[in-house]
Subunit: 340 residues, 2 copies
């Protein structure tokens, strides 16, 4: 039997810590007996939380870390000075191969800084992108980069496209995933300077299935599997997805309550409606991996509940089992040797 995959959880990160990360860990180990979860953070706090549950105790370990990085802290300073924070301790475990992955619902900025400076980048990856799955009419698409690297350069976007393709093919199981670049029109000459420079480079890249530009209108329709964009654009897309879904649902609920007839209708339709809305909730798809690091770091939403943490744990396991990082390294190595 191969050694169990070990996933490290920031037990102090996010709005619902420590309850959500601890419960998520318990949920995960109850479902699979071949994995290990390490909860990193203040030992007594975690122990108190864990004592609420029954679980196979050999599958959960606590690693003490006394400090907490707060959301408002300056990311670089926080990572540099809080050596005994759950985030720094957890990421060092990944760096030192004591864990395969690290999950946190804490400060995005600190996760990005820590990922790069502590875990470190794969050779050939200059800017590790944050890549969440977003729901579409037919399934999911990978949005890459959604917030790690503002003002990225064309060559960075090409690496995003390659890593995103590997992820979608081996984690989501989409053969030959369609890669598109976010643009303001579908013609090749359209776009800002970044897109105009990146487009021909993607077109020439024979390891990906580049299908051209995608207008944001087509993203929810599932117009491509890997949606490549610069981080500012990706962040705008991700957050508008969230805000607009919430708003439309609240507007629709308001509409349903506007007449007696529609109220009765709403009461009958609500269970089906809730299920539908849930299927369009980005948080059910686990967290956003920071791709291209020497180990896996996953950021989950700040208000993650136990289910999202559990899903993120299984996402990390799938990432390790499918040897995604090895595949990324192989592809980037082949290309750099071809270039020489």
């Amino acid at each position: 039997m191969p050694e169990a995959i070990r996933v490290c959880i920031d037990a102090m990160g996010g709005d619902n810590a420590p309850a959500a990360p601890v419960q998520g860990a318990v949920d995960a180990v109850k479902l699979r007996n071949d994995i290990k979860v390490v909860l990193v953070g203040q030992e007594d706090v975690i122990q108190a939380e864990l004592s609420k549950y029954e679980y196979p105790s050999e599958q959960i370990e606590i690693v003490n870390a006394t400090e907490i990085i707060e959301m408002a802290e300056h990311p670089v300073n926080a990572i540099r000075t809080k050596k005994d924070s759950s985030m720094v301790v957890g990421m060092k475990m990944v760096r030192d191969r004591q864990a395969d992955a690290f999950i946190s619902a804490g400060s995005s900025g600190a996760i990005l800084v820590g990922g790069q400076t502590i875990v470190g980048r794969i050779k050939g990856v200059k800017r590790p992108p944050l890549a969440p799955l977003i729901p579409t009419e037919n399934g999911v698409s990978l949005l890459i980069d959604c917030g790690a690297n503002v003002d990225a350069r064309p060559e960075h976007l090409v690496t995003f496209a390659k890593m995103g393709s590997i992820y979608m093919e081996h984690i989501v199981g989409i053969k030959n995933p369609r890669v598109a670049i976010v643009n303001i029109g579908t013609e090749e000459e359209k776009g800002n300077n970044l897109v105009k420079e990146t487009y021909p480079m993607l077109k020439e890249c024979d390891t990906i299935n580049f299908v051209g530009s995608i207008e944001s209108r087509e993203i929810p329709h599932g117009g491509a599997d890997v949606i490549v964009c610069e981080a500012f654009t990706g962040n705008v897309i991700l957050k508008l997805y969230e805000g607009l879904s919430q708003t439309l649902i609240s507007v629709i609920k308001g509409g349903l309550m506007s007449t007696l007839k529609s109220k009765i209708g709403a009461a009958l339709a609500l269970p089906a409606l809730k299920k539908t809305i849930k299927s369009f909730d980005a948080s059910t798809y686990g967290g956003a991996p920071l791709l291209g690091l020497n180990g896996l770091v996953v950021k989950t939403h700040g208000n993650s509940k136990n289910t999202e943490i559990k899903n993120a744990i299984f996402q990390c396991i799938s990432f390790s089992e499918n040897r995604i990082n090895e595949k990324i390294k192989e592809q980037l190595a082949v290309e750099s040797s071809t270039e020489e």
Copy 2:
């Protein structure tokens, strides 16, 4: 009695031309007897369409233009070579003060090029932005720029903010409108280079009510009245609004049809639901003005129906009646004289 406001319509532009522009014109003149509408395009085609309606004939005029600019044409070439197109002829009427405004559902690119080269820019406006109203939970916000000027510079965004404030105050009637810049976080130090440079300039601008950064998540919640952004970002926001609304509605409809109980519920709730959804449809808010020109040019959606054209006509009338362009000129003139 002052002279009637004259609005020029591109009778050949858009997916539903000439039917929709002609009917929209008829709808408008039936509602107000103090306006004139000029239909520009192929005279016989327009005449045939007009003959279907009864309307006060002295309020609608036809101006012949034999050529049509197609959607796929290169905008600069089209405007330069098709001198007798409905778009060029209509815009020249605005330039020559024969009309107060020009509305087209035709090629966006050609409208942008024609607006700048034929109608011309107000002194002090280097980049005229396209500024549609988008629906929010509480009303509408102005998204400026949504597609005219990719790779704009900070000083352009500051002019957008000023013009957008005047528009929202005098057309939509929002006193002291809240101006925000689209960003990927709310802290002042966040953002890409463009936002970081623009933020302090907006902060120092005392003719606007700058409230800081807005994350795209807050746009549908009505987090600001004037949403300032570079055109690439604005275009992504506008089109994602469209795509995501369509997708969510289709997903919700699918969900409602999933069980017998929910089907009955849906039948009861549908009229109210349709009304709600309509209130969140961007096209009901008329067209997008290209602000900062020596006259008004309005772009409506390519698939505009008569209602949108009619709404756009009233929008143009309101623009003229409220002397928006004069207000923009005054403010920019005051500032340039203060700077000297």
